[in-house]
Symmetry: C2
Subunit: 410 residues, 2 copies
Amino acid sequence: MPASGTNMPRINGNRLWADIVATARFGGTDNGGVTRLTLTEEDRHVRDWFIAECRSLGCTIEIDRIGNIFATYPGEDPSLQPIAVGSHLDTQPQGGRFDGILGVLAGVELIRTLKETATVLRHGLTVVNWTNEEGSRFSPAMMGSGVFAGASRLEAIEAVRDRDGTSVLSALEAIGYRGETLVGHLGFAAYVELHIEQGPLLEAAATEIGIVTGVQGVRWFDVSISGTEAHAGSTPMAQRDDALVAASEIVLAVRDIARRHPPGVGTVGFASVGPNSRNVVPGSVQLQIDMRHPSEAGLDQMQAALEQAIEASHSNIALRHIWSKQPVVFDPAIVDAVRANAAALGLSATEVVSGAGHDAAHIAGICPTAMIFVPSKDGLSHNEAEYSSPEECSRGADVLLQTVLQIDLK
Amino acid sequence: MPASGTNMPRINGNRLWADIVATARFGGTDNGGVTRLTLTEEDRHVRDWFIAECRSLGCTIEIDRIGNIFATYPGEDPSLQPIAVGSHLDTQPQGGRFDGILGVLAGVELIRTLKETATVLRHGLTVVNWTNEEGSRFSPAMMGSGVFAGASRLEAIEAVRDRDGTSVLSALEAIGYRGETLVGHLGFAAYVELHIEQGPLLEAAATEIGIVTGVQGVRWFDVSISGTEAHAGSTPMAQRDDALVAASEIVLAVRDIARRHPPGVGTVGFASVGPNSRNVVPGSVQLQIDMRHPSEAGLDQMQAALEQAIEASHSNIALRHIWSKQPVVFDPAIVDAVRANAAALGLSATEVVSGAGHDAAHIAGICPTAMIFVPSKDGLSHNEAEYSSPEECSRGADVLLQTVLQIDLK
């Protein structure tokens, strides 16, 4: 059971906020955001800052071959695997100051707090910066944690190139972050990731903490609709085979299917019309669909409903399932610890399933894992206007600290 | 009343077909189509051919300042304004061999037939080739007939430029077709245009002749939908403001409105989605709408229904009415003549309203005008596969000849 409210150690919210401000200068944009793509000079600067800060606190540093950084504050019992916290320091182009960054900087602040209060854990505490969570320079996203957890092969990932033809391997070498440690060589007793919600639920419910019970599964579909291009004036309505009309019915079907399978979501984010001319009945439309649900069964039902909607259509429609990611369920004991500690700290909290992917989704495959969310103003992220207040960040870090302390007790 | 069937003079279908084949070599494509954009070298070649052919038949040639060509076969009474027939010799890029071309070549064949049978009309017979009906190089379409009928000012049109920056005036001069005649200086007793249907109705009904009673009016609208760009994973369905969902409802509303206002048609031919990424809920969509109806009252009702559908939407949608063209009703006496002569020739015929615009729609404003349609295979046009059979072309030219003879009697 967690300690009672007033005696619980707290992190220093001002220090944490100062770090958020300080690191935002690496790739900082004029509009208050950050452009810090993975393995660029800006990324090198923030990595250097992170290592210097952790070294000064007495951490040992390990860097693996894919550039993941592990800063470990020693525990009492070196035979125990460390407890890990962390996230990622890379951003999207014109991204924000919080996405990923909060989780790493909160880890640094946890170590400061332990040191300041002379708290010695049984386990070591490792703060991790995962390489290329965002995936905007090199695909796939969650690259470092994916290789670490065995979801991708190192050699294949090293060969991935960006738009300029630079490989991951050369980019790692160029910024001096191709480490020596074999990827996945380290083991953790547990992994807990603090992150901004990147969605509107917590703010809408005026809730301070999100108890993340898992990550939604994802299925991606490509839809190709073949109609008949025709003159918009001389083709009567009854004789049309309008690909955009058929596409519109699918867009609405995807929306309806998601509504019928809560808490699933379904999005048609991409549409391309051919020939795309005002006075020509569209002959072809391409759509890209993203469907998510916390359970595999839910995804199966949503996919079946989509297939049915397409079959029921009178149009010539081809559906291709091009990619999927299974749902992740986080470790119930750590999820319980997050819930109990938020309550002990007097914070309002609600269970959420992450709609976005996270490094924690990979790490959940190799050790007990969970996540903690704090609110995102207007649900915004991947955006320079991304914002969580100093108090919101501080509360999240406090819950993270208490959760680590509780895991350490076992 | 028309002459009875067997005694009626007939055009020579083989000669007409040979001309279609012969002129298709000017800009002919590998796939059996024609790319002959207005005022290009290809257009110059077919214009030269047309003038040479008509001169050899004894026609006088006039070319006006916008490049419209008038080849007049003299009649008995020079005090009467000539009867005009014709259409256009320019094509769309990768267009067909019939659209416009049939109407001009049928005019040439009419003159051959008159000459061969030593038939002298009271009126002169003028075959017209209108400049730039297609509008794909210079906008607007129906340019030459528009200036002729006073719908556009010559000076404004001369200044219009193509994508390479060439003006209409320089293009006219470059191919030597800026004529001397003042545009609109010539007057006609009547104008009759033979054209392919460019739609599927005649073929579907196995009907040989379309008696064209008018041209649909057109209204163009631009629609701008502002939603909220959001993460496709972390934004619950209930909290979305998805611009593509709203756009899809409008696409279906346009379809439904047109169905409720027969014989009106409604098309969303253009859609552009922002940011158009699979895993981002669309934040904006632009649509372009084309609505047509044979009556102004029908267009008013369709527009009101569209405004109502947009008002009823929960989304932030701006509708702009950007262009319109009033419906055209052709001269009832000439329409009756077409009907009577098709019947006298033993041809099946049906009344149609043209969905596409034609030079005849402009000319209807200045003299008694009508059109005759022949079937288009699969309703195709603006397409290399555009096709009407030799028999179909020949029947249309026969009806044109009889209609001219009947107008001449009055």
